[in-house]
């Protein structure tokens, strides 16, 4: 008998006394806090993002380029990787200020290697959804965010979130996401609590996370 058949057989034999049908409990219950209003949700999002030592900047749509250039400059970034679908105006000011723009796909269509990415200072991306109660941004790695490695290997991540992308609680975000896309949930910069359970920011992922809220 194959391992598969044997394991399934054991599991069936272990539950012969169960009388309820599959799906007995009904659909997954949605347990979350409803938004008290768009303004309050946005305030809470900004507060909780900042609470985990990410920087938060709020600006109008036409100011994104200037804000991004300022954040890159503050962290001393010399080069920035740009996802193929990123809004070009977001990094135009940074290029003018002398930051080297590194496209993920080269002229020959080849993607950057991990080692090439490791030599880049920063990455700028959009986001899919923001969650207020937890201060989380979720990437679904559409072309304006790029593949997963882009937001992982460089040491600074500037993430631009539109105000209308911010939902109030975790179940609202789960309902919006497409499970067949790779998804990365980010809450503050890389951190560890492994030494005496004290939280330390900055291990393997980007040590600087800058969140820009637009609108």
């Amino acid at each position: 008998m194959s391992a598969r058949e044997e394991i399934l057989g054991r599991l069936r034999a272990a539950t012969t006394e169960v009388t309820t049908p599959v799906g007995h409990r009904g659909p997954a219950p949605v347990i979350g806090v409803p938004s008290p209003g768009a303004g309050e949700t946005l305030e809470l999002f900004a507060e909780n993002v900042a609470d985990y030592r990410a920087s938060v900047t709020r600006c109008r749509p036409e100011e994104v380029g200037t804000v991004v250039a300022g954040l890159l400059d503050r962290a001393g970034a010399r080069s920035v990787v740009v996802p193929d679908g990123l809004e070009a105006s977001w990094v135009a000011a940074a290029r003018e200020a002398g930051v080297e723009l590194v496209p993920d796909s080269g002229a020959d269509g080849a993607l950057l290697t991990a080692a090439e990415l490791d030599a880049v200072s920063a990455v700028v991306t959009a986001a899919r959804v923001g969650i207020a109660t937890t201060g989380t941004v979720v990437l679904d790695h559409e072309p304006d965010q790029g593949r997963r490695a882009l937001t992982l290997v460089p040491d600074q991540h500037v993430c631009v979130v539109r105000a209308d992308q911010v939902v109030h609680d975790v179940p609202d975000a789960v309902a919006l996401l497409e499970p067949r896309r790779p998804l990365t949930w980010i809450s503050g910069p890389s951190a560890t609590s492994d030494i005496e359970l004290d939280r330390v920011e900055g291990v393997h992922g980007p040590r600087t996370l800058d969140v820009v809220i637009v609108g």
Binding site: A3, E6, I7, L8, R10, L11, A13, A14, T15, V18, V22, H24, R25, P27, A28, P29, V30, I31, Y52, A114, D118, I131, T133, T134, H141, R147, R148, A149, L152, V153, V170, P171, A173, V174, A175, P179, R180, R181, P182, L183, T184, W185, I186, S187, G188, S190, A191, T192, S193, D194, I195, E196, L197, D198, V200, G202, V203, H204, G205, P206
Partner: protein
């Protein structure tokens, strides 16, 4: 039903009570544990207190897990179909040996002689690292705490923070002594500042991440209706392993399944708040099979039984399979806080380990026989558990099993039989009590530390010396007649 072969217990592991006695003498470890568990208890209490509907979330979590456990074959087949449809290869492993063989063959097929690993309880349970090393394949643990344990040639002592028994000064020494032997050495001026230690780990592991071709992970959740695997972490080492290599092998216990993607709305609230005491952990990765042009293109999932079907067969005991490995029960347990994790003789320590290990492995060994007694039954673990596992009731259930399995000839079973005979007739009871008070005059006020033949029970408890006079004797003396003759 015979027990399946599960992983061996830590070699020569004595009973919990014996090991705990030694651990209690380690004052450094007790200080480290008391500091760490009180820190995390306060953080957890604060973020759980923020959620008004916490109890509803706990009930929903338990319900989702019970739905899966009651119909596990159905949900596993659904998970498998969705994984395969999205380009992953699914393997099934009856026990630790089979899982290790599958992984080893997959790694060998890539030609790589090393793998990077995301912290995974399942691969610790099957002792995968040891099997890989025997076959000449280096397994690099990349979680900071696992790195500390691995470099220190040590055993994990906590589910979430396996190096909880080490303080910063000890970690600095381990890094300085060991890092150079397996890769980039720690800097000469390394201090014991946690930020500097984390930086040293970052630099040491970065070269391994960048060159790695194979990664091995577990999964916190496996979603049946989509085929999505979920890894919840903090440092980014998980993202490195799940994203950069060409081949990804995930070893997943069959009980890790959730029915639907929507269930994550519940579990991503329950797990981080219960585990690290954060509103949300820094990074959560979700992937569904293979994504062209993004991440590993060769994706394998090994579904592991290794005793879980045995646990499932006990309709009370099966609730232990709801466990999402948050470790909240460890942090609130007065016994764990003092004895530490090593005394439990398994990668699953603390209250959940005290029920899970004897269920997964049976109660044949000294340590597994003793684990159901590694508790004062105070109930704090049940209160803290995000999926409402009634650990105290399970411990009592397992104690019954341990006594029953001693086939009526154990000192405890024999003495219970003798007690039943004695209590059945008041004249026998009075005779026994006269014997005890006589003993009291011999003992005086001395505390009885242990009774011969009743080791497991009395090793952990002092027996008060019998009183010089029983209630019956006092009544007869002061009232002038026996209680049996009361008017």
């Amino acid at each position: 039903m015979t027990l399946q072969t599960t992983s061996p217990i830590f070699l020569g592991m004595p009973s919990f009570q014996k090991a705990a006695k030694d651990a209690l003498r380690n004052t450094q470890q007790r200080r480290n544990l008391a500091h760490a568990t009180s820190t995390i208890r306060a953080k957890r209490a604060a973020v759980v207190g923020e959620v008004d509907r916490w109890e509803e979330l706990r009930v929903a979590g338990a319900d989702a897990k019970d739905e899966v456990l009651h119909h596990l074959p159905h949900y596993l087949e659904q998970l498998e179909a969705n994984l395969v449809a999205n380009g992953a290869t699914v393997h099934w492993a009856r026990d630790a040996d089979e899982a290790n063989r599958i992984v080893l063959d997959l790694v060998r097929a890539t030609g790589s002689d090393e793998v990077v690993k995301v912290k995974s309880m399942a691969t610790q349970e099957i002792e995968l690292n040891e099997r890989l090393e025997e076959a000449g394949i280096h397994a690099w643990e990349t979680d900071l705490a696992e790195l500390i344990v691995q470099l220190g040639h040590d055993r994990p002592s906590h589910i979430l923070v396996p190096a909880i028994h080490r303080n910063r000064a000890e970690i600095r020494e381990i890094f300085r002594r060991e890092m150079g032997g397996v890769g980039r050495p720690a800097p000469d001026d390394l201090t014991d500042e946690p930020a500097r230690l984390a930086e040293a780990a970052r630099a040491h592991l970065r070269e391994k991440f960048l060159r790695a071709r194979v990664a091995i992970s577990g999964a916190n959740f496996a979603i049946a209706d989509t085929g999505t695997l979920v890894v919840v972490e903090s440092e980014g080492n998980g993202r490195m392993c799940l994203t950069l290599p060409e081949t990804l092998i995930s070893v997943v216990g069959v009980e890790k399944v959730l029915p639907t993607f929507a269930d994550l709305g519940t579990f991503l609230q329950l797990l981080p708040r219960s585990s690290t005491g954060e509103r949300m952990n820094p990074y959560t990765s979700m992937w569904t099979g293979v994504r062209e042009g993004d991440g590993p293109q060769d994706v394998h999932v090994v579904l592991l039984d290794n005793g879980r079907s045995h646990v499932l067969a006990d309709d009370l005991g099966r609730q232990a399979l709801r466990c999402i490995r948050c470790s909240a029960c460890l942090n609130v347990c007065p016994v764990y806080e003092r004895a530490g994790g090593h005394a439990y003789g398994s990668v699953y320590p603390g209250p959940i380990g005290a029920v899970l290990n004897p269920q997964l492995r049976g109660t044949g060994s000294d340590v597994d026989k003793s684990l159901p007694y590694a508790s004062s039954l105070c109930g704090a673990c049940f209160e803290a558990c995000p999926v409402r596992i009634d650990i105290p009731s399970l411990l009592v259930h397992l104690r019954t099993q341990v006594v029953d399995e001693a086939s009526g000839r154990s000192p405890e079973a024999l003495s219970m039989k003798a007690a039943a005979w004695m209590f059945a007739d008041h004249r026998r009871l009075e005779a026994a009590q006269r014997g005890a008070t006589l003993g009291s005059r011999l003992l005086g006020d001395r505390t009885v530390r242990s009774l011969p033949g009743l080791g497991a029970w009395t090793q952990a408890r002092d027996v008060p010396s019998p009183p010089p006079e029983t209630f019956r004797q006092w009544w007869a003396r002061t009232h002038g007649y026996d209680v049996e003759e009361a008017p």
